[in-house]
């Protein structure tokens, strides 16, 4: 076949295939430190205080409602048989899912050697930790008497009883706790060299003392870095398996039961994809704010945002497939109960929630095929907010729509949330953003050590002096 376009030379082809630069402008090791570490020492802007006031008020409101729930009893929520799991579990699944994007960025993309992850890994790991904190709150208050929640753990007791290790709810306890501890460890290991930098930049004696303790007396020796890099890689590998397991286990809470609409083999991958989808939307929203307010445009570039938006688009298509598969399973199973439940999703009492889910998760993200939406704040924020709303309502559909029509028609019950339910949901968002704001205030939001590794001239053994092999 004749081609009118001449073949590219090998070098030119490689050049065209190379990823665009992940940094803008000239950045030196020192100037990177100055810019990323400076917010820790200076007084934050008035905008920060306004934002903090709003989020902490929401958090306190939520804490008030939680206190009211604990003092009065779980009856102040809208849940009742047959919708025994409502906001408590919706919010739990939602927040655990948000965390997954952070681990994906910090662990899986590290294994893929995606250089652009270095700029956003610290921030997204922090989002993971805060999201998991918000998530664990909900099962804790949902048990009704949280001071007895330690019964979930296997410890020798005078009753001679052990928890049921065959129950997906107990798998959940282990999965979420392991996830939290490992994420915290991974985040902290990454922070150690940065804490050492903070220690050496400050003149304040109390700060110096605190940072010295926190960084374990890190001194950057080559023999230490050798073990450090190995540990970081090993934890990343393990965290990759872990993050896939956590939302799979969360999905087992549903899939292992016999409720029509829940009892499906597609649930684990469907939940993991949904988790990454919602998590990336949250990271994009928070990152846009941090990037523009802290003037990090040359470190977190448009390229970063565009790549993340492409991942959101990919996940959206996978979600569309999962929704279609749900319908296909209902039809192909020839099981009238599953078919009835599926019809409830789209034409039942909560039909609006079902269609809101499909609109926000499948239709709106298709806008990201357009370059403008991937590269402009207004476009990406619009999609990210839609995805966040859509993913919350997806869990609402899965839980409430499937449960509100029991096998026994006399038990059918329309679920309505109370003001307490909504207040606690608002409070969890308040808590999450309060923690994000505090984090941006007291710790470096970009991992300076990891960024230094990919600056020009950092790796003399690699061609071009960058981290790229």
């Amino acid at each position: 076949m004749k081609s009118s376009v001449p073949l590219l030379s090998r070098d030119l082809a490689i050049q065209q295939l190379q990823a665009p630069p992940v940094l803008h402008g000239k950045v030196s090791f020192g100037s990177l430190d100055d810019q990323v570490l400076a917010p820790v020492y200076v007084k934050p802007s008035p905008a920060w205080f306004v934002a903090f006031a709003i989020t902490s008020t929401a958090a306190l409101l939520g804490m008030g409602f939680i206190g009211y729930t604990i003092a009065t009893g779980i009856g102040v929520w809208g849940n009742n048989i047959p919708v025994a799991w409502a906001f408590g579990i919706i919010n739990f699944v939602f927040w655990v899912g948000i965390g997954h994007a952070g681990t994906l960025i910090s662990a899986i993309l590290l294994l893929f050697r995606a250089r652009w992850r270095n700029a956003i890994s610290r921030f997204s790991e922090a989002i993971t930790i805060f999201a998991v904190i918000c998530a664990t709150l909900f099962p804790l208050i949902h048990v009704g008497r949280p001071w007895l929640a330690f019964w979930l753990f296997p410890y020798p007791n005078q009753r001679g009883v052990w928890p049921n290790f065959r129950s997906p709810l107990l798998w959940d306890v282990f999965a979420v706790n392991t996830y939290f501890l490992v994420s915290l460890l991974f985040w902290y290991i990454g922070l150690v060299p940065d804490l050492a930098s903070l220690r050496d930049r400050t003149a304040n004696k109390i700060r110096k003392f605190v940072y010295s303790i926190l960084c374990f007396g890190w001194r950057g020796a080559a023999s230490h870095w050798q073990h450090y890099e190995k540990a970081y890689l090993v934890i990343a590998g393990l965290a990759t398996g872990l993050v896939l397991s956590v939302h799979s286990v969360v999905s087992f809470d549903f899939a292992v039961s016999l409720v029509p609409g829940w009892h499906m083999t597609i649930f684990p991958p469907y939940f993991v994809t949904g988790a990454i989808f919602a998590g990336f939307a949250m990271v994009v929203m928070a990152l846009v704010v941090v990037r523009s307010t802290m003037h990090l445009e040359h470190l977190i570039t448009e390229y970063h945002l565009e790549v993340m938006n492409k991942i959101i688009l990919t996940c959206s298509c996978l979600m569309a497939y999962a929704y279609l598969m749900e319908g296909f399973t209902a039809w192909y199973s020839m099981n009238p109960y599953i078919q009835y439940t599926f019809m409830q999703y789209i034409v039942g009492t909560y039909w609006w929630a079902g269609w809101l889910t499909i609109t926000c998760n499948v239709l709106v993200p298709q806008l990201l095929w357009l370059r403008w939406f991937r590269r402009h704040y207004a476009g990406m924020i619009f999609v990210a907010v839609a995805v966040t709303v859509g993913m919350w309502f997806e869990r609402f559909v899965i839980i409430v729509s499937s449960l509100h029509q029991d096998f026994l028609p006399s038990s059918w019950h329309i679920y309505k949330p109370t003001i307490v339910d909504c207040g606690i949901l608002l409070g969890s968002f308040g808590l999450f953003f309060t923690l994000v704001l505090l984090f941006a205030r007291v710790l470096p939001v970009i991992a300076t050590t990891e960024m230094k590794m990919i600056l020009p001239g950092a790796q003399p053994h690699h061609q071009g002096g960058t981290h790229e092999p």
């Binding site: 009893g73 008497r145 934890i235």
Partner: protein, 377 residues
């Protein structure tokens, strides 16, 4: 004065390539151990310095295997042996259901081995008194400078010679870091501060434990389920007209497991047949009830010789006499219900089946007292 004890001689470099170029030059001229310091890991520096391969992956593998086996072992032991729990008809050792937690425990063990093993076991951190941390170079190393240090182990250094080697290799400045004063464990100051720390920490933890133990049992935040108003038997109640909390059954009520006994006199009862088959179990039941209720007056063998003769004026019947032998089963049963002469009624003490069991036992006593030769066979 002793000559200065030197911990290391350190040369500072401006960039990673300069440091990497300097390493082989210094290595040819200095025999002492070399260490490099940098703000980030430099790939290939471990080979240049001649560092051994990190044993971390082996440690993680071992701890991961321990995590898997201890997780599975613990689940099998608790769910199959210590507290056997059957779920959904699965066998006790249904290992498939234990995979998720087994996996999580493995990840937990392996990750913490990697993280803390790296920091504490391999890198020997925290080490706050390390002489490097008090050097002038440290602040620059965590920012943008790179250092190559000659750190002898035991041997003495020719400081000036090493300084010139480092300078020739391209170091912008050279710093000599003094060895720290060794901690004198026997000094009174040190002992006193250790003692004080022990006293304070034990006092704090002791008081905390004491108050936790004292307060925790009495602070029950939600008592709704403990407060359950109810009316116990024998309690008065203003709710009912008669003032009793307890309700009596409607007249003519027949309790479950019993039949209505509508016979008024002994003569009427003569036609009743013992409905209970004469089994070994019935006889044993009859024997137990007879010895409990009847033997006090009628005697252990039924011969009317009571154990409490002096206490009663009446003479109990001899149950093995011809009169009673000739009495039909129904009449004996009726006497147990109603009593006779001085004998009280036992209907309240013996339910229907036990009364008939006693009748069987009385018949057995009668036969035992008048045993024929055939019975011995």
């Amino acid at each position: 004065m002793n000559p200065r004890r030197v911990f290391s001689v350190l040369g500072l470099f401006d960039s990673a390539p300069l440091l990497m170029q300097a390493i082989p030059k210094v290595k040819t001229n200095v025999t002492a151990r070399l260490e490099a310091y940098s703000p980030f890991p430099i790939h290939g520096i471990d080979e240049a310095l001649g560092l051994r391969k990190s044993p971390l992956t082996g440690m993680v593998l071992v701890m991961g295997i321990i995590g898997v086996t201890s997780g599975l072992g613990f689940e099998l032991w608790t769910s199959g042996i210590d507290y056997p729990l059957m779920t959904a008809g699965k066998p006790y050792f249904s290992w498939e259901a234990f995979i998720p937690i087994m996996f999580e425990i493995m990840v937990l063990f392996a990750c913490f081995t990697a993280g803390l093993g790296m920091l504490m076991a391999l890198n020997r951190l925290p080490f706050f008194r390390h002489p490097m941390l008090r050097s002038k170079a440290m602040g620059q190393i965590t920012r943008d400078k790179f250092a190559l240090a000659v750190e002898p182990k035991g041997e003495t250094l020719d400081v000036d010679a090493i300084a010139s080697v480092l300078k020739e290799a391209g170091a912008v400045s050279v710093e000599v870091i003094e060895a720290p004063e060794p901690i004198r464990i026997a000094s009174p100051d040190f002992l006193l501060s250790v003692l004080l720390a022990i006293v304070i920490s034990s006092a704090v933890s002791g008081y905390a434990t004491y108050w936790a133990i004292k307060l925790f049992p009495v602070s029950i935040p939600m008592v709704h389920m403990l407060d359950q108003p109810r009316l116990d038997p024998q309690r008065p109640s203003g709710f009912f007209k008669d003032g009793f909390g307890m309700r009596m059954p409607v007249p003519g009520t027949v309790a479950r497991g019993t039949t209505l006994y509508g016979i008024g006199s002994e003569d009427e009862a003569g036609t009743l047949v013992n409905p209970m088959p004469r089994t070994g179990q019935a006889l044993r039941q009859g024997q137990q009830d007879y010895r409990t209720y009847c033997s006090v007056c009628h005697g252990i063998r039924g011969d009317g010789v009571p154990t409490l003769t002096a206490a009663y004026g009446a003479k109990p019947a001899n149950l093995v006499s011809r009169t009673i032998i000739d009495l039909p089963d129904g009449k004996i049963h009726h006497v147990i219900i109603d009593g006779k002469n001085a004998m009280p009624a036992y209907a309240a003490d013996l339910p229907e089946d036990e009364r008939w069991a006693v009748v069987h036992y009385v018949r057995a006593l009668q036969r035992a007292s008048n045993a024929k030769d055939d019975d011995i066979k």
